[in-house]
Amino acid sequence: MPDYSWPPMEKRKVIGKRISRLDGMVKSTGAAKYNSDINPPGLLFGVLLTSPHGHARIKSIDTSEAERLPGVTAVRVILGAGKEIQWQGQEIASLAAVTEDIARDAARKIKVDYEILEHFVDEEDLAKAGSRAKPAGEVTTGDPDKAFQEADAISQGYYAIPVITHCCLEPHGQTVRWRGERVDYWPSTQNVSALGAELARSIKVPVTQVHTDMQYMGGGFGSKFPADLWGTECAELSKASGGRPVKMFLDRQQELLMAGNRPSVFGEIKVGAKKDGSLTVWQSKTWASGGLGGGNLNADQMPYVYRNVPNRRINHTAVSINAGSARAWRAPNNQQLSYITCCALDDLAAKLGMDSLDFFIKNTSLSPRGEVYKYQLEKGAEIAEWKKLWKPRGTSNGPIKRGLGIGVNMWGGLGHDSKCRAIINPDGSVEVQIGTQDLGVGTRTIVPQVAAETLGLPMPAIKFSMGSNAYPPSGASGGSTTVGGVTASTRKATVNALNKLFEVVAPSLGVPADQLEAVDRKIQVKGNPAKSLSWQAACAKLGVNRIEEMGENVGRTAPREGLISQGAAGIQIADVSVDIETGKVKLNRLIAVQDCGLIVNPKLAESQIFGACIMSTCGALYEERVMDQQIGKTLNADMEFYKLSGINDIGEIIVHLDLRPEMDKRGVIGLGEPPAIGGIAAIANAVANAVGVRVHMVPLTPNRVLEALARRNA
């Protein structure tokens, strides 16, 4: 087998360098065409009519007036008379028209008569959930009752984290042109290679007829994997409109109601430890909802990271409510698990009268990667000046209280299945093709980095073609699997192609092919630049032929090969100031220490971690879907009251990438999700440390902070 291994750290010329993203130019000039920007000739606008009610039955639906409106080309009923609606935002009808205004006017002219049914949208009130609550059964390890009897300190607490939405800035949607046998499909997706097959199944055409293309997309965060009902509707509307292309993207309200969310979790947690701080027992009763489908948590992963605690009792209940369904949300379940675990452990440390840092470090032996967490906690504490700044809970003086807190993360991040085609042409040009996508993480940049490194060429010499199902298939971008998948397949394809070139030029240089190397735009005898051919001259020897070689990463077997692996660990430390007169939390600093193996591009990796930390500030301080219990609807399906952090809300973010050689040797590991996990817990714990009392629910709004303070003072 050829040697695919990465060049040693000190010899790398392109990999590991702080290279600016290659799509920066088109994105900063507005030239990048997102699929919501695609306007093919004859374009029609599609809209969805969605349910204004949380639970209802359609008594009748009349589309005749909409159909008569001039400019309307097609109207389709999705849910007809007699059908039950289970959440606000559920799709009822779709239509297409020559302008967006006409399409929206027409949607308003569809008359639907509803029978309003009783709704349930308050999963926190488990007692009222009745048959909507589905317990998952108890998991027990060791002897938790005995362990609580023998514990020197026990802490009991209630912790809650609400539903949040993905709030992608580019809404979900697509443009479809279904003309004759050809379906042109321009979706906003995390899943370029496989999405066309899903659409093909739903509209019942052979997959070969669907041509998917997406060059740029405006955020997915786990919510843009499926083709969705609106993909099918868009295609059918195009067909029904004589093959004219139809653009159908959700509006902001629909985006927040229909396009997925992160489930809530509510938990009653009891934990016990010995005097020396050893965690001995964990007991949790949690419940959650991610909409109609209930809410999974992977509760048996608790205590998160510290999961080898000897005694555990775990109960989790999924609750179905009348709201849109959950989708993967950047590190599914892990934010909630980290939040519930780290808050409970922090409260236990306070009960023991122990510095939280010492407690979190002492118990790292309960984690499968304890030594890594210990190193990271110590490194983070050093950056945060923990030992200088930390004070026991609630002992900070004055009306502005400062506090520090910790959150931890873990993730797999093994590269997905990916195929790459590398082409070397006789004129020296190089093309690399993968049916992958760049969600903004830098795929478009790191693949040419790997190719350039392998072939001894500068980055601009590599043409990278992606974003189409015409290219070799590559996995969906979810679970931090892309960087591992595409770097491994690219490395293999380019090594294979280069070896073919070596075979062609070896006779001219008078050595066997395996004695050649590609360095600085030359093919040369290993270690002997004097015996070389320029890249151009070497490629010219191909004559009329070109080299086309494939490289394949198979996720399942990849760790044995050494290019990539899995298992990321990280910690976050938050430093906050809380005004106890107003309840306002100000984030001073958020520090992230993260291990993710070999870093292909530190500049882009740091950007990823910045983004992950900022998402944590949203979840900790601002972001929450609010349901109206009386009417069963979402109160804040807009960007005025669905709050995200702004540029002035985030404090200073300090990123420390763990670049030690032993981490580099692990190969490439995904980074997208792990740093988005622990920040919420870190901020919540910092606030508890500052004000001396646990605020039970995030986001830590001024109101919740003041309520917690009032409860303490009562």
Partner: protein, 154 residues
């Protein structure tokens, strides 16, 4: 109704309802898709353009308000292939990820620097407060605007 609007130095005549949003006219009639739809209610800033040098939210600006005035969109910033210092700053600082908010961010930064050519970091944060980035590029954006203000001074 018909309107005459000047976009990036070129005059355009558009036939539309006077209440139609400027964003819709730019994107759907003039093919200038750099300005983005984010929220449709003036909250996220993805649609920011300049009217007579001032940043406005084109998604809530009726086209009649732009009639006869100078509109600058992201497509009109670079001159003869040379990026505006703010665009160069975004590139160098890696102040973008998915890039969907970037045109609006860049336009808001251009308007900010026109008013305050050498802002402090605090003034940059205040000036850019109305633009939302879901990928979380804010620290890099502060750096990008700072670089642009220094670049412009040279």
């Amino acid at each position: 109704m018909a309107f005459e609007i000047l976009v990036n130095g070129a005059s355009h005549r558009v036939e539309t309802d006077p209440e139609t949003s400027l964003l819709s006219v730019l994107r759907n009639q003039l093919g200038l898709t750099g300005s983005k739809y984010g929220c449709g209610e003036g909250q996220c800033g993805a649609c920011a353009v300049l009217i007579d040098g001032r940043a406005v939210r084109s998604c809530i600006t009726p086209v009649k308000h732009a009639a006869g005035r100078h509109v600058t969109t992201i497509e009109g910033l670079a001159r003869n292939g040379k990026l505006h210092p703010v665009q160069q700053g975004f590139l160098d600082a890696d102040a973008l990820q998915c890039g969907y908010c970037t045109p609006g961010m860049v336009m808001s930064a251009v308007a900010l620097l026109a008013k305050d050519p050498h802002p402090t970091d605090a003034a940059i944060r205040r000036g850019m407060e109305g633009n939302v980035c879901r990928c979380g590029t804010y620290p890099r954006i502060v750096a990008a605007v700072r670089m642009a203000s220094k670049g412009a001074a040279r």
